[in-house]
Symmetry: C2
Subunit: 454 residues, 2 copies
């Protein structure tokens, strides 16, 4: 039997993992400095928790777990005739987490009497979607979310803007753009063009402006029942640009008739003021009124981050929502969150060669010996190195020098200490730098000192 | 709808998570120093990879994923009549990882031409078992495994002995016992009592010696077809004890007729010599010839770790195997590994109060202000603190001092900086130590310096 991985899933070998751990650690440290606390929820959730939260398409994409034991026991031919969809709830009660937001909402509701509010949590765990696998789309992938719930203070939005900059800086992604928008402005635009309440349909179309251009957006809006009059009124949208305060000034004029839009504009202004007060140098911020992220539950700010110079989609996104826990019987809880996509961040950093050398750093030194006498020297040295915090290995077999050096090369171990009979007698060990090929004699203590101070 | 978690699974809130992260980080750092490299495999595996690897009971305990789409499309009443067991492979092709060993074996086989051998990997991921939930037994739990494959050098066994000591020391679990045995000794005992080849049945029974005592072990062996003669020959087993070298001396005599046993004894002797050469101070090692860990695939060393003074089962276990990848068509690959159980380690450390204060450390300081002027002081200070690496928060709402202090208390934030109108005017901020209740005046720079040097 030739083994394989499930389509749409991946193994992460040592090199990839070391780089992924660099990303996870960097994000985690930044979240922590901003006061977010760690949370983990189970991979398995009751289907009653998951179903109906992600729309019909989402329900289809849930991985469902077959009930244990005699799941088919009570089934009849009539049940079978009902088809797969009706049969599912009879034989599957549990499913795999589809995102981190719904489990977070469930956690907040179940712990609402014990949680200090506002509650700031981060969560870094895999999620699963029974999507058709394709390039860059996986069935199992990690999300890294940070959310604050229990306050509608715009300070939270400002902190997210700062945190995004901080994460990007710490990862080494210097060239990126953080787009920001506000759902209330989208709602105001819908009002202004005579389609009050239709900002959902409007957003889905104009969200694609970057990709398909204004003409195709217009086509799509026509298909969705927008009239030529509506479209004519929408024209200012396509000419608005500039720095965030310029965009806000244009919007103020254009949308002067919409109270909702003015509220959204005021929220964005306050957010930008707070960002400035927080002292962010060179904000890489763009106010994009077409940004909608397709997601219907955002009620205020909307965020999206893309790396410049690579054709990889957004690496981070989020926004404010007013009803995180409504589906679980706890209405009116406002919150705002941001999610980082580790897989895409990895792709960006890989393509732009941004991983620091330390990210892949594993074993620093291999001790190579050829007989029991060499080992007697190597074994205490090995322990000394590790005690000094130096990742170190002793080649486990007493074999030819070539084989041991080949192993060090394959593992990209930068130093090899050769301990043959000369070295045993003199106490001067041969230290080979595997990058330069240089070799020098050092005592065991000198080896430890040299590698500790690297 | 009142939400709940799936039975046998758990949420890990901020306090538990902080402590769990301490355990994960400690184990990860130790693995890394010993030259193990990180690996992650998908949670989903093909059922063809998982089935038949864990015995019949294991197959029952696999969580199976319902196929996507119209899974029931081709099913007939005749299929239904076959029952759940026969139906399963028709409607489920994928399952959840049951342990980290089988996915590791699959990975090694799929990457055998690219992997430098010996291959040392560690893996820290959740696994799932459709077990009946009960105290201390979960359906979703983490395993932390480190394995070396591709060498039969006993150095690997010795390094595992050292690594276990190192992990325990770094976690702060000072009182523990590492039991060690060798399958070949068990096989030799079976030979010596006239039941050559029956060490499996023998092991299952004598493994329980600690729990049920020698008489019940004898009863169980009788049930398994062992004769009174066999049992009489087994008597020396129950009197062997002492330091590892004493036990080895007794075994040498008792099992002098078994070549296999002598080989096992020699392996243990060499392992202990290597441990000594590695310079381990005060090994907490016990040679227990009844140790079998019920697992049939161990062929050499067997390890088990228990914390002293708590009635919690083993917190770590492992051993050598000779045929990790045989089921995937790659026979003869020898390896040795150790697995740490994070959940039980957590329970031990919690019960013995071993978590260091730093393990739960989140936000260090809360800035509290009451109007826009206070915020203008607080916001740049917030950024300064974070830039200095101090986890810091600003209470997001301009609300009463009591509410903000209550929040700091609930979150166990040790310092609060109060910024009212006096503080804004004087630049002297009020810094409250939430543990002692003391309050003092400091400038913003002094606050940063004080908290950075904590």
């Amino acid at each position: 039997m030739k083994p394989s991985v499930v389509k749409g899933t991946r193994d992460f070998g040592p090199e990839q993992m070391s780089k992924r751990l660099f990303i996870f650690d960097t994000i985690r440290q930044t979240f922590r400095r901003f006061g977010f606390q760690p949370l983990e929820t189970p991979s398995l959730e009751n289907l009653s928790t998951l179903t109906g939260k992600y729309g019909d398409e989402g329900d289809q994409l849930l991985f469902k777990i077959l009930n244990s034991g005699d799941f088919a026991g009570g089934l009849t031919e009539a049940d079978l005739a009902e088809g797969s969809k009706k049969l599912t709830p009879r034989i599957a009660e549990k499913g795999l987490r589809y995102d981190l937001t719904v489990p977070f909402a469930r956690y907040v509701v179940m712990n609402r009497h014990a949680l200090p509010m506002p509650f700031k949590r981060y969560q870094m765990q895999p999620v699963w979607r029974a999507d058709r696998p394709q390039k860059g789309r996986y069935r199992e992938f990690y999300q890294c979310d940070a959310d604050v719930v229990g306050t509608d203070s715009l300070l939270c939005e400002a902190e997210i803007v700062l945190m995004v900059h901080e994460v990007m800086r710490n990862l080494g992604i210097e060239n990126f753009t953080l787009k920001i928008n506000n759902r209330k402005i989208l709602a105001g635009i819908a009002e202004a063009i005579g389609r009050a309440g239709d900002e959902g349909a409007l957003a889905v179309a104009i969200d694609k402006l970057d990709k398909i251009g204004p003409e195709k957006v217009a086509d799509e809006l026509r298909e969705r029942g927008f009239s030529d009059e509506n479209l004519a009124a929408l024209q200012p949208l396509f000419t608005i640009n500039g720095a965030p305060n310029e965009v806000l000034a244009s919007l103020k004029t254009w949308l002067s008739g919409s109270e909702t839009a003015q509220k959204g504009i005021a929220e964005l202004e306050e957010t930008l003021t707070l960002v400035e007060q927080l002292g962010l140098e060179k904000p890489q911020l763009e106010l994009d009124v077409t940004l909608a992220r397709g997601l219907s539950y955002y009620t205020g700010a909307i965020f999206e981050v893309k790396a410049d110079g690579v054709s990889i989609g957004s690496i981070s996104g989020g926004g404010r929502y007013d009803n995180l826990t409504g589906a679980f019987g706890m209405p009116g809880l406002s919150g705002v969150g941001i999610s980082f996509g580790v897989d895409r961040i990895y792709d960006v950093m890989d393509e732009l060669n941004l991983f620091p050398a330390s990210a892949g750093q594993g074993t620093q030194v291999l001790l190579a010996c050829f007989d029991a006498d060499g080992r007697a020297v190597a074994l205490p040295l090995l322990s000394q190195l590790r005690a000094a915090g130096v990742p170190a290995e002793l080649y486990p077999d007493l074999t030819k020098v070539k084989k041991q050096l080949d192993y060090a090369n394959a593992r990209q171990i930068p130093y090899v200490v050769l301990i043959g009979s000369d070295e045993v007698q003199s106490g001067q060990l041969s230290v080979k730098n595997m990058v330069t090929g240089e070799q020098q004699k050092q005592t065991a203590d000198e080896v430890v000192a040299m590698l500790t101070n690297l």
